[in-house]
Amino acid sequence: MEGGGVVFAFYVLSAVTLVAAGGVMMSRNLLHAVLFLILTFVGIAGFFVLLSADFIAMAQVIIYVGAIAVLVLFAILLTPRSGRDNGETKFAAPAMLLGVCLAAVFLFVMHDTAWQTNDAVRQTWAQPLSAAPSWKPGCSPSNSPASC
């Protein structure tokens, strides 16, 4: 995927997504964490658009941003006396250590693997009728008598 627009869009989207994901981790108020979570979902929907997966991007915006985030928000508002703090348990340091170690393993493996990739943009939409071969009754690609 070459081109300045693609590179710029990728880095902007990755910055938005990672900063928002870190905001879910760091924000003290649970409501702010949900807003950061929505921003992360929107960033990943942008990645789907960049990967030319338009249907998944629309489903992401509708289902995650429209349904799941609202559901989480309702659950927070329905549990008022438990407090809105987004604190950690005593497992905070081991969990972050595990996350960093797992990220290191992931990055090592995926940069060490020789991926067989194909960078060509494929035609995923349907061909217009004018471009299709002319169709006659009784003719099909599997059954083509001599009159076709």
Binding site: M1, F47, A75, G99, A103
Partner: protein
């Protein structure tokens, strides 16, 4: 300067690890659920990236799998939040350290 498969996989791995750290360390049960949602989203991004850079003829299987994961994530969020509200009505808390009804 090109954007390849490794770039998307890097972002996806970082989001997954942040989600893992959130799911393991948050005290509020709804915060744990947010971490799980982040992890599922990172997996979706990985699948769609592999589908985009695949060498097969019609690489639509990754996106199909992503649709299934979105469905499962929506159902899981609904069930988990219903559980959280139910626990709150019984115990007046959603602190995962204080939900210890199964402790002997």
């Amino acid at each position: 300067m090109t954007i390849g498969l490794e770039h998307f996989l890097t972002v996806s791995a970082l989001v997954f690890c942040i989600g893992l750290a959130i799911a393991l360390s948050k005290r509020n049960a709804i915060g744990v659920l947010m971490g799980v949602e982040l992890m599922l989203n990172a997996v979706n991004l990985t699948l769609v990236a592999f589908s985009r850079f695949s060498i097969s003829e019609r690489p639509i299987t990754g996106q199909t799998f992503a649709v299934f994961i979105i469905t499962v994530a929506a159902a899981e969020a609904a069930v988990a939040l219903a559980l959280a509200v139910s626990v709150y009505r019984n115990r007046e808390t959603v602190d995962v350290d204080q939900i210890n009804l199964l402790r002997s």
